[in-house]
Structure formats: C-alpha cells, structure tokens
C-alpha cells in the first residue's frame, strides 16, 4: 500500500532531458521506481539512462501505461505541463518545479481536482514510499521502511525528522512533501486523509511552519476524522514577526499564524507537538513503545 507512490507507480518524467530531470529521473529509477517514460517536446525518440523519451505525455501514456508524472520543467512551462499530464489521464502528479505564478496555479488546482487527479507541489520534494518507489528529490537513503507517515511543507526539515526517526529505529510508510507555495495541489488535510485510509500507516508526523492556517485546519480535521495518532513539529518559534503589508491575510485565517498559535491549536485537538526535530522523534518512539 503506502500512499501516492508505490510499486504500482508507472512514472513519466516531464522534463527528463533537462539538467534536473536527467539527474533525478535515473536516480528514482535506480531506487526501484518504475520510471517508464520521459517527455520533452521535440526530443521524442531519445533515451535517458534507458528511459524512452516521448514528445508528449499522451503519447507516453499510450505507449508505456504511465499513470504518475513528475514535473521537472522550468517554471514558465510547468503550468502547461500540469494541464498536459491531466489531459493525458495521469492520476498522480508530483510537481517539483518551483517559481510557478500563484494565479496560474489556482486555475490548475481546480482543474486537477475537477478531473479527479491528485497533485503534490509545486515547489515540493516529491513523495517517497521506502522500499517501493521514490518520485522526486527526497534522499531515500535517509529513510527506512516502516509505518510512520510523514507529511511536511518543508524539504530539508522533512529529511531531518525522517533521519531522527530512522536513527531511533523507526521507518516510514510514505514521506510526502506538499510544498510551501501559496497554492499547492494537496494540503495537509488531503494527505492526512490518505494516511488515515492506508492500512500500512500506523501513526503520522506532520511537519508545519509559521504562516497560513493549514496546520490549524489539519488540527480540526485530525480531531474530527482521524483514528491514528498524529504527532507534529512546527518550525519558526523564534522567527521575527513578518513585515507584512495590509491586514487581509491575518483576517482571513483568523489566526496569528505563529508557531505558538499552531502548536496550541494542534495540542487542543489531541496532537502531541515536539519543539525540536529530536523531541518529536522521541515522542513517536515513546508512543510506539507504550502502544
């Protein structure tokens, strides 16, 4: 099982011939992910590390049965790449590319949802199901196989926490980086719902940050809908207050968006919150030992 990516994943890499795609595509393949195709318009017929390149995603899907896409194209082409993937019937999209205009992502977000597909990112490290599939740039060697779901807005901080868990003998069902952009394809709540439904996941660690209100929404969701234990870590307790202009943002969320406010909201909903990556890992270990 695991979530989002697993041994059923048949991956097409949009931008496989680019500098990042040609590095991470083969790396994902070497990990054991079924990387079945690459797409770069005009380069159909080439190969990268034995992976066939097609001119378009529709063709790649028709020829290889790809069902998942990883997007590594430059920002200006990434929105088009998302639409192309959805149009071709891809059901899971990991958009690693960063720098996508937020207004364009709004349109893409609703389209992806409307067509019944699922997307993580943009500006995210991807998803890794240890022992099954790695789709993105997450350094797989840091993580072990196991039953802890991990979902995070941040890249490297995720690795830190996975590392702390692995050092304590705990592994992960899936590690999901949802990305930190204003508009991302999947929220904490979306991914928590997947973990709740995944039989392989026994507990979840959520790694949040200051700003926005996604952690507060997740807290309410966890209290209402989740049976599995959830642990959280929030970064940014000592962050200086932002020099934000205008007041609309704070009014929308009805939350100060501070790390403390998020910690309070989570704890009020029964989530144990660690104040350092080490502490959250120890909380998970302690719960696993006692449970």
């Amino acid at each position: 099982m695991a979530i989002l990516v697993d041994s059923e994943t048949r991956l097409v890499v949009q931008g496989l011939t680019g500098s990042e795609g040609s590095f991470h595509g083969p790396r994902n393949k070497a990990y054991g992910t079924q990387v079945v195709a690459g797409v770069t318009p005009g380069k159909g017929g080439q190969e990268v590390d034995g992976i066939p390149v097609f001119d378009g995603v529709a063709e790649a899907v028709a020829e290889t049965g790809a069902n998942t896409s990883m997007i590594f194209v430059p920002a200006r082409f990434a929105i088009d790449a998302i639409y192309e993937a959805v149009d071709a019937g891809i059901h899971t999209i990991a958009c690693i590319s960063e720098g996508l205009p937020a207004h364009e992502m709004l349109g893409a977000y609703w389209h992806v949802r409307g067509e019944g597909a699922r997307m993580i990112g943009p500006n995210c490290p991807g998803a890794l199901s240890p022992g099954k599939a790695n789709v993105g740039i997450i350094p797989a060697e840091v993580f072990a196989e196991g039953s802890v779901g991990l979902v995070s807005r941040s890249g490297t901080l995720t690795y830190q926490i996975g590392h702390e868990l692995a050092q304590r003998g705990l592994g992960n069902s899936t590690i999901v980086g949802i990305g930190g952009d204003p508009v991302v394809g999947s929220s904490f709540v979306d991914v928590l719902a997947l973990f709740e439904a995944d039989p392989e996941t026994e507990s979840v660690v959520m790694v949040g940050e200051i700003g926005g209100e996604e952690e507060e929404k997740a807290a309410r969701y966890i209290e209402r809908e989740m049976s599995k234990p959830v642990f959280a870590y929030i970064a940014g307790f000592t962050a200086p207050p932002g020099k934000t202009m205008g007041h609309a943002g704070a009014i929308i969320s009805g939350s100060s968006g501070t790390a403390q406010a998020k910690k309070d909201a989570l704890e009020a909903c029964g989530v144990r919150v660690g104040t350092t990556p080490t502490e959250v890992a120890e909380l998970v270990v302690a719960a696993a030992a006692s449970g």
Partner: protein, 386 residues
C-alpha cells in the same frame, strides 16, 4: 513584492480605478513643485513599505506649495518602524464624507480570491474584523469563473451601502479591482480607506499592493518598481548573490539549506540558550560559490560570535558545501568559530573533506542538537539543557 502606495495607485489607475492626482518627490523642493502643479490643498504622504504612517506623523496636510515643502522636509528622512522615508507622495487633498474598506486577496486555504468589504473603513481593520465581524463582508470568487456583476452587488448589499449611486460605483470598482488583481498577478490589493466624497464620488485613497514574485517575469513594468534601497544593505547584498538573508539580533550566525530547516535551526539555537544572529537560507542549489557568498554576508555582521552551518543534503550535495566552506576559509578572513553539521546526499564525502583539511576554527558535530549546543558554547553563551 510589496509596492509603495504611489505604485499601487498607478496600477489601480491603469485598471480604471479612480484615485487622486499626485506627484512623487524625493526632496522638499520636488515636493513644492509637485504641490504647485496640483494647486490648492495637498497631502504629503511618506512612502514606506509598512503600515502605521499616519500615527507616526508620516502623513500631513499642507495648505499650499510652500507648506508642502516644509512638511516634506519634516517627513523625508523619518524612520517609520525601521523604514527610512526617502520619498513622499504629494496628493491633491480629498474631501471625505465616508471611509470604507475594500480588499481583494488570496485565500490560500480556499484556493480562491477573497473580497473583503466594510463601510467601517479608515481604521484598524483587524479590529473591525475582531469586534464587528458582521460588518465585514467576505466574498469568494471562483477563479475559474472570475468576477461577475453579482459579486459587486453582494458586496454592497451585504455591506449595507444605502445610496444607489455609491453602490453602483463600488460594484464597478470591485470588478476593476478584480481585473487589476488578476491582470497584475497580485497577492493582495487593499484600499483603506476607500472614500466617498461629499459629492458622492468613490475613490481609493490609499493602496497596499503585493505582487507575486513568481509572476514578475510577465510584468517587466512592475518588476522595475522594486526599490532595492528599501531593504537593509546586508539583505540587499545577500539578495544580489541569490541568498535569502534576514538580520536578527543575536550572536550565533546561522546558515542552512531550506527555509524550514533554517527556521528549525533558529528555534533549536534558542532552546539551547543562544540567540541567532540571522536567518540565512542557501536555497535548493547550495553551490560552493553560494556558500562563500553567504559566509561573506554573515561574517560581515560584527555581532556574530560563532557560525552554525546546518546542512541536510537532498538536491544540495554535502561535498559541494564542504568545498564552499574550505574555499571561503581561504578567501575570507573568518575569525569566528564555525560548527558544521552535514547529513544527507554525499555527507560522508563532505565530512571527510573537512576532516582532512582540518582548519583550526572549524568543528564538525554529528547531530543538529549537538551542533547547536557547540555553536552556542563557542559564541560564549551558557548552554541550557534541552
């Protein structure tokens, strides 16, 4: 990217939103000329990328051009919440019968643009939201549908705008604001106050405007509005080198890869009893050159007593970071102790390189927490037990 009031108003005007005439001035003399051109009463308004100008004395009425010059002299050079006033906007004074509030922003949670409108404008809007939430109309627009006339009508109907002429103007203005918001890839457009003159004309008297950095390539005219001098010189230097740097008030210089990890590092430093001197994110790449640049910026801060280098490699390769550190130590005269913690992609190779070179003021630690403690210790602070 945040815009100054006058820049936001320029965009408003471009999209057909009524604003007052005015002119920009960087000196009292320019202020006088601008006031003369406008004629009559004017308002001299400090242009700073922060709120609270009025309370800080950054907005003054002037009866004529010479008074405008005097007021500009008072305001130019003022420090408003850490922002030095380098420009003033001289605007034709407005008669104000009513002050409303209208904004359009990005509701990240709902993934929709959100209008907010109240007839209780001109004041601290967060207070209105907290104390009279029923007075603040919130209205989402489906981005795939866009603005429809009914959105405008809902705003004025639910906001309780009684006068039909006013309501019509605000409805039209809301449509233009939506066009402006989408057309300029804005994340926030706020007008507080949106005024009604005694003659019944509706006009935006202030602007708060934030544009999506990721979309600036589509709007070269807006990109040019960026005022590099508005940022502290060290942040500016870092930005020029592609490094995100924010100066803080402590002694431990911080350098990491990824905003989340760096924030976490700041927290851990504080927990073990230290005070971070800065926030510095190498970003995704982390080339040797970038490391050198970042260290240059950090060590230029005289408060820095020690440096904590916290890297978890993903895209960033630890050997490349180690190479950058060694290169920096050769190129720059670094007096402070540096504590390095490397994990992730090519970490072993990186650690090996540092151990082989073994510069005297460089210490490696195996974990983030250990490294934080060591860095605080080396900064001459007491280490608390976490």
């Amino acid at each position: 990217m945040d815009l100054y009031e006058y820049q936001g108003k320029e965009l408003f005007a471009h999209y057909g939103i009524p604003v007052s005439d005015g002119g920009l001035a960087a000196t009292p003399e320019e202020a006088r000329v601008a006031a003369e051109e406008l004629g009559g009463q004017v308002v001299v308004k400090a242009q700073v990328l922060t709120g609270g100008r009025g309370k800080a004395g950054g907005i003054k009425l002037a009866e004529d051009a010479s008074e405008a010059e005097a007021r500009a002299r008072d305001i130019l050079g003022m420090d408003i919440r850490g922002h030095v006033v380098r420009k003033v906007w001289i605007e034709k004074a407005s008669e104000i019968a009513k002050e409303y509030y209208l904004s359009l922003t990005f509701d990240r949670g709902e993934k929709k643009p959100l209008f907010m409108f109240t007839t209780q404008g001109g004041v601290d809007i967060e207070e209105v939201a907290a104390e009279h939430p029923e007075a603040l109309v919130r209205l989402h627009v489906d981005p795939r549908v866009g603005f429809q006339p009914f959105h405008g009508r809902r705003l004025t109907q639910e906001g309780g705008v009684a006068d039909a002429g006013e309501a019509k103007q605000i409805q039209a203005l809301a449509g233009k604001l939506y066009g402006c918001f989408v057309g300029s890839d804005a994340l926030l457009c706020e007008m507080n106050p949106l005024i009604v003159t005694p003659a019944g004309e509706v006009r935006a008297l202030d602007s708060k405007f934030t544009v999506d950095d990721n979309a600036l390539y589509k709007h070269p005219h807006i990109a040019e509005m960026r005022d590099l001098e508005a940022y502290p010189p060290e942040e500016r230097a870092a930005r020029e080198k592609g490094v995100t740097y924010v100066k803080l008030d402590g002694e431990v210089g911080i350098l990491g890869n990824g905003a989340g990890l760096v924030m976490s590092t700041l927290d851990v430093i504080a927990i073990v009893g230290g005070r971070p001197a800065n926030f510095c994110d190498l970003g995704g790449g982390g080339s040797a050159e970038g490391v050198v640049d970042a260290l240059e910026v950090i060590t230029a801060d005289p408060q820095v007593q020690s440096i904590f280098f916290n890297i978890f490699g993903g895209i960033t390769r630890c050997d490349e970071v180690a190479r950058g550190i060694l290169q920096a130590l050769e190129q720059i005269d670094i007096a402070q102790s540096i504590v390095v913690r490397l994990d992730g992609t090519n970490a072993e190779e990186g650690r090996r390189m540092l151990q082989e070179a073994a510069p005297p003021n460089l210490h490696t630690e195996p974990t983030m927490l250990d490294a934080a403690r060591r860095a605080v210790e080396l900064a001459g602070e007491t280490v608390e037990v976490a």
